[in-house]
Amino acid sequence: MVNLTIEGRPASVPEGLSILEAAKTVGVLVPHYCYHPGLPVAGVCRMCLVEVEKVPKLAPACATSVLEGQVVHVHSPKALEARKGVLEFLLINHPLDCPICDQAGECELQDYTFAEGRADSRLREPKRFTPTEDFGGDVLYVTNRCILCTRCVRFMSEVAHDPVLNVSERGDRAFIGKAEGEDLTNPWAGNVVDLCPVGALLSKDFLNKARAWELDRAPSICTGCSQGCNVVLETRDDVLVRLKPRSNPSVNHYYACDVGRMSYRTFNRRDRLQQPQIRSGRGLQNVDWEEALAAAAKAFAGRRVVVVVSPNLSNEALFLLERIAARTGGAGVFRVSQGPEVPLPGVPDLALREERAANATAARMLGFTEIGALNGVLRDGDALLVVDDALVNADASDLSRASAIVLVGTAMPDILAERAAVVLPMANTAEEEGTLTNLRGRVQRFMQAKAAPGVARPSWYVLGDLLQAMGGTEQYYLPSDVFAAMVHTHPAFAGLNYHALGLMGALAPDAMATVTAGGVN
């Protein structure tokens, strides 16, 4: 360990750490642009210059290692003056079009200029103008706003191992260039938009949709695949507008793939189930919750209940469904859609996984069986409980043996429109809270980002009530109650505590053994 003083605060940090990282440990932010903890150090923006006692020149905090006894001044007049100079240089050719820039409000150039920059400009010449370029994929490059920190270039070459971007030209004519004939269509390319500290790289999907300060944000887990990337769901007026990665060094570092980024759209679908319904002579009729739950319980009475679940359901929902199946001597099955695995080469154990579902791991841990097709699942007289599975590729003969079909879901599968006896609307992942288990057995919490439509209720709430209507005695008031019951019932989750999961999650005990053996953490 090395002991040094940063802004008068004593710090004790491992050898070889940069001053910038050391300052973070004592709560001092050294302003910077080109430095990013996930990328190789470039040391080019010169924003992080700090004064180190007994060193004549200012030192770049990102590229200077800590030394025993060092005394570092981050906000000394000399360092502030240097940063003011850098900010002035960065702004002379910057269009200052914050009012129409998507990055405004979450722009580091804006923030630092507000904090430390000059109030006026000394530039008397016309600004340089360079046209905006479509980089392909989801990325738009607004050249004029670029400060050439090269984070995007380094990400594409060192992390994505797809060196499509480069710095072209020299001097103030320099810009981020794209390799001739290539487009930014790498499945991880969307990360350059997050990495860009200014409004130079923008998401075309998010373009002009919202101002940063209008957004509400909720920490969540991406449901695009079984990797379980930590993400932030951003909403405006109760509509999801963007999904961004949230840093978790054990899962996704700082990144999310483009499939995950676009997956937020599914949570905005408009054909949602909003009201509990039961089938009568005139088709499905809206009823209240008590009536619907009673009807479902009645349909299940004395029957073996076969549960077809979506592998995106929370651990809590899956646990309650496992209870329902166990109570009636039934069975639980699920289907997982597959896609090609797309790893991010520069980060160990991070990929868009083949298994395109968030919680198939927990489904297996709770005893659900993975199936390919629905035929053969039902015996004559079984009751069928479908929970948010879209029943893709199912045909009528698969369902014909069911005595009754109850749907708990977010939307109505076509095949059930004429068959479901009871329909119970539930919230989707963005509308409730709970936990998910990723492919490495990491149990992670997700928070509610927006309100559910109509009178739809969270899945654990609906299924808890259903279990009670079927004669169960447990009462669950919070998802944490369900989680505690699951931990109590299933040794695979032993020792976990809902509140202790925090925002980084924790490994399930079984997973811990296999993961340690495999050398992955």
Binding site: V41, A42, G43, V44, C45, R46, M47, L49, K57, L58, P60, A63, E81, A82, G85, V86, E88, F89, L90, I92, N93, R122, L123, R124, E125, P126, R128, I147, L148, T150, N166, V167, E169, R170, G171, D172, R173, A174
Partner: protein, 449 residues
């Protein structure tokens, strides 16, 4: 020899003694002039012995920084790692053209120096990085290397010593910044020629991540003479009262001067004599106004300042400038210093590698202000802005290109303030430049019309 003129008696031609002699270019001719004797001698010595001789000789880097060469070589220890030698023949500093002549006339001298140095630093591979515009020197060097391989001077068994020495010639693509040692290494590796952050220094992790020594052409070309004649012989060149600067140095002289060309003098030579005696002084009917003594990156001197200078590292430092690369640029009374300085800044703005914010934006901004002043649209506020920009550009970047751009502006503003003021006076009588605020005191467009 004051090539292309006749050698002046007060010169001390060592490196330049065969300039203009086509025979010296060939292997046979070079051998007839005592060539490769030093290498033969060196290969029989222990590398550390050579390092000591060069250290004792007081030879300092001739590329500009003046770092003691022997000390630099002594960083390379027999540690079993792969070492590299890089010879910096990019010679891109405006006003400098000494390495070009060394390569044109005595290519074998450089090959010998490179081979010797490679052996002295425990390297088997050396690269000579030549700027792409040097078509003739590249041709000469390639021919010399080929001859040296054919004669067994280079290769697996260099001069029969059993030591391996390979020399590769690499042609640059014409970027000024590739003369910066770490940018040169990036360029050699096939990357964009951007300077690297130091540390790590090249002696620790240089070319391809391996310990590397990088020397200028003139430094390496001097090494064989030192090994051949000994450190004491080399020390005789120089003034007695300054043992820190010894040996001979080539100075390239250009601009408004009677006899432009390369001159080799002992360090410590009085600049007044150099300028007026060796180089013949001003052109007829003109008078010299300013001198840049060491390539465009060093502070400008007035004639008076320069005449008091002694031509060595300390002597130039005493008058507030640097020996630099030895590229002497002379300006006479017909020159517009504002325009000349604007031209220099334009060069740096064009050549900035665009990594550091201060350099990328600062060089271009400085240029735009300088060109505006030069065109007669300046205001007196611009002087303060220029000095403030220069301050923000100095000592804060990865390499010194940014500082080099600020230097002529600061020294020019200090020493030729009158010429800058005169430009402002012009602007008072002009209408505003389209798209720009009206300079104070200038009539508005409406009243002019």
């Amino acid at each position: 020899m004051g090539y292309p003129h006749k050698s002046h008696e007060r010169e001390s031609p060592v490196l330049s003694q065969y300039f203009g002699d086509p025979e010296a270019r060939t292997l046979a001719g070079w051998r007839a002039r005592g060539g490769y004797e030093a290498l033969q001698k060196a290969l029989a010595m222990d590398p550390q012995e050579i390092q000591t001789i060069v250290k004792d000789s007081g030879l300092r880097g001739r590329g500009g920084a003046g770092f003691p060469t022997g000390l630099k070589w002594s960083f390379m220890k027999p540690d079993g790692k792969t070492h590299y030698l890089a010879c910096n023949a990019d010679e891109s500093e405006p006003g400098t053209f000494k390495d070009r002549e060394i390569m044109r006339w005595t290519p074998h001298g450089l090959v010998e120096g490179v081979a010797l140095a490679a052996y002295a630093i425990y390297a088997e591979t050396a690269y000579i990085y030549i700027r792409g515009e040097f078509t003739e020197p590249i041709m000469r060097m390639e021919a010399a290397v080929q001859e040296a391989y054919a004669a067994g001077i280079l290769g697996a068994n260099a001069l029969g010593s059993g030591k391996r020495i390979d020399i590769h010639i690499h042609r640059g693509a014409g970027a000024y910044i590739c003369g910066e040692e770490t940018a040169l290494m990036n360029s050699l590796e096939g990357r964009r020629g951007n300077p690297r952050i130091k540390p790590p220094f090249p002696a620790v992790a240089g070319l391809f991540g391996k310990p590397t020594t990088i020397n200028n052409v003139e430094t390496l070309a001097a090494a064989p003479y030192i090994v051949k004649h000994g450190a004491e012989w080399y020390k005789q060149f120089g003034r007695a009262d300054n043992p820190k600067s010894v040996g001979t140095k080539l100075f390239s002289v250009c601009g408004n001067i009677s006899r432009p060309g390369n001159y080799e003098v002992a360090l410590g030579f009085p600049f007044k004599d150099f300028l007026h005696d060796l180089c013949g002084g001003a052109l007829p009917g003109r008078s010299i106004k300013a001198v840049i003594p060491g390539g465009s990156s060093v502070p400008i001197l007035t004639l008076e300042e320069s005449e008091s200078a002694l031509m060595d590292y300390e002597g130039f430092a005493a008058v507030g400038t640097l020996l630099g690369s030895g590229g002497v640029i002379v300006f006479d009374d017909k020159q517009d210093m504002v325009k000349q300085i604007a031209r220099l800044t334009r060069f740096y703005a064009h050549e900035s590698c665009a990594q550091c914010s201060q350099c990328r934006e600062g060089t271009a901004w400085t240029t735009r202000i300088m060109e505006r002043i030069s065109a007669g649209y300046g205001t007196s506020e611009d002087f303060d802005t220029l000095l403030s920009i220069a301050e923000n550009m100095s000592g804060k970047t990865i390499c010194v290109l940014s500082d080099s751009c600020a230097t002529p502006v600061v020294s020019g503003l200090k020493k030729f303030r009158g010429e800058f003021e005169a430009k402002i006076q012009i602007s008072r009588n002009k209408v505003a430049m389209p798209g720009l605020p009206t300079p104070p005191g200038a009539p508005s467009r409406a009243s002019a019309a």
